[in-house]
Amino acid sequence: MLLTGILAVLNIKTLLLIFIGVSIGIIFGAIPGMTATMAVALCLPITFGLQPINGISLLLGLYIGGISGGLITAILLKIPGTPASIATTFDGHPMAAKGEAGKALGIGIVYSFLGGLISILILIFVSPPLARIALKFSSYDYFSITVFALTMIASLSQGSLVKGLIAGGIGVGFSLVGVAPLDGYPRFTFGVHVLDGGFGLLPLLIGLYAVGEILKNSERKGKAITKDEIADYRIRGFGFSPKEFAQQTINWIRSSLIGTGIGILPGIGGSTSNIVAYITAKNQSRHPEKFGTGIMDGIVASESANNASVGGALVPLLTLGIPGDTVTAMLLGGLMIHGIRPGPLLFTTNGYIVYSIFAALIVANVAMLILEFFGMRGFVRLLAIPRHILFSIIMMLCVVGAYAANNRMFDVICLLVFGLAGYLLMKLKFPLPPVVLGFILGPIAELNLRRGLQLSDGSYLPFIQKPISIIFLSVALVSLIVSIRNNFKETKMLSEQNGGEGSVTN
């Protein structure tokens, strides 16, 4: 099974697809305003016509490339290409300003690879035993885990806690349209039969993320990035010495573990882990004052952590079938289209697919290292493509993606509706990830709640009697209370600081 899985990836076509995926991912990651989520959403329809392993390999390549590509702009332009590389700008750009852009890029690339590697190894060793445990989970447990995931996502997303929680509710609201689970009762369809099947995940994701984002960008005339703004660089070797490498070992391992751990938690991923790892590295350092001046430690912490989140995020997806962030939500969609249902059963029924996924991840990680190392000039040149051309093309590709999924105009109209909804939500400063995950997790929670209540003849007791269920429900409650307290403290502190004169924006 192990061998079949690995061999399924090791053929020219699959390897080529991974390399293509990583390249496109790097481009999306590098260009500000475009993210790994967008890259995966736009390429998802292409995978329909491919064999399952090939399709998934392409998507995983996009994911890894998309997270890593942000370091290019973070270092050369001081603009993080994606939120996952915010902390890379802190030391990456000062290093580039000192004329060591090549070294900064080299460090970023190598530690993206090394961070990713640790997390993939953790994924490989942790998920099979975890899946064995998860096989014993009942409907009650699944309901509680889903509720836990939902509260984490809503309370940990950026911005206000209340708005995060509302955004999660809006997402669940979108998922209500269509027939109800178990009894098939049509809800919110208003007699329109095309709504019976509910909204597709793909139009929702492309709409909210890509169309909404582009509409928001169309509010302002963007200026193209000119060549003079990009720091000059030359890469010789990896840019750092074996001694420097040895000095970073602890930082690298610690940051990768932080990244993997944060990746496993639902709702937060690369965009949080890079900052947490950076702050931890600074606090643990013997020379914290040097952080921010362009030292290696900062780049190592940020880039190890953000790539390590990828392996972490795949743990709950593969073992429980519960996606923890927007990219894994789309991977879930991509797998299900091919009739593969992630979750504990996948390890026993389609074990070779799990091993193919592991193999594809390792190959994609290597591809990222090679492509960024040798193709850096090409990627940098792409940054000069004007935004008006880029965004127009992406908008067309959104329409292609929405239509090609099911060959029906209904999905394209949904795309438009969700695009406008996404724009409105962004304008009102509601975070989008809880909307997407509410949309996916809502039905899972409802199905398991109703299934559980059917088994218990309407009694809620099993939800607090089963050990796993009660643990997750308590953790969800505690995390919610802690977030509310922190939120309250923050507001109080801010209002004290500002006295009667200042204002708090954002």
């Binding site: 178990l182 009762y185 809800r187 169309s218 127009s392 309407g458 204002s503 924006t505």
Partner: protein
């Protein structure tokens, strides 16, 4: 606009949404097996959103009061271009609704040219480049999807 004022609008928006879900969910039959019926989650979501919206509104009002916050402008880059935004929304809507009739290639070419023209700053309007891209790309995408990926795209009057 200060954040608190914005949040009041956000709160009203989600309150209306929550109430709408709640009201609509009363139309769902209670025909049930054991446990809860199909109306349970919609009602719960409606109540949940409405209550949280009220919290958001009251929080924002409270914060606005105690801080007597001054008006402070958004620090976003560049001025808002309402015309550009409205034009690209209208263009997108016409693209989608005419797609089936006129076909993917024709409508995409029209859309790409229009959108590039609308979004480009005045001194970057390279008409010739826009024309080449907006005719070449849709054609390439069409043949790639239909012939290589085996996916369908609306052929329209060209089909």
């Amino acid at each position: 606009m200060v954040q608190q004022k914005k949040d009041i609008w956000s709160g009203f928006f989600s309150l209306i949404l929550g109430l709408a879900v709640l009201i609509a969910s009363f139309g769902i039959d209670k025909t049930r097996l054991a446990g809860v019926g199909p109306e349970y989650l919609p009602k719960a979501v409606g109540i949940y959103i409405s209550i949280l919206s009220l919290i958001l509104i009251s929080n924002s009002l409270y914060e606005l009061n105690i801080k007597k916050t001054k008006e402070k402008k958004d620090k976003d880059e560049g001025p808002l271009e309402v015309r550009t935004f409205v034009a690209s929304v209208i263009l997108l809507i016409s693209y989608i609704f005419l797609l089936k009739v006129l076909g993917f290639i024709i409508m995409s070419a029209v859309f790409l040219f229009g959108e590039m023209y609308i979004l480009a700053p005045r001194n970057h309007r390279n008409i010739l480049l826009f024309l080449i891209l907006s005719t070449g790309l849709p054609t390439a995408v069409y043949f790639l999807f239909v012939n290589v990926f085996n996916l369908l795209l609306p052929a329209g009057i060209l089909g």
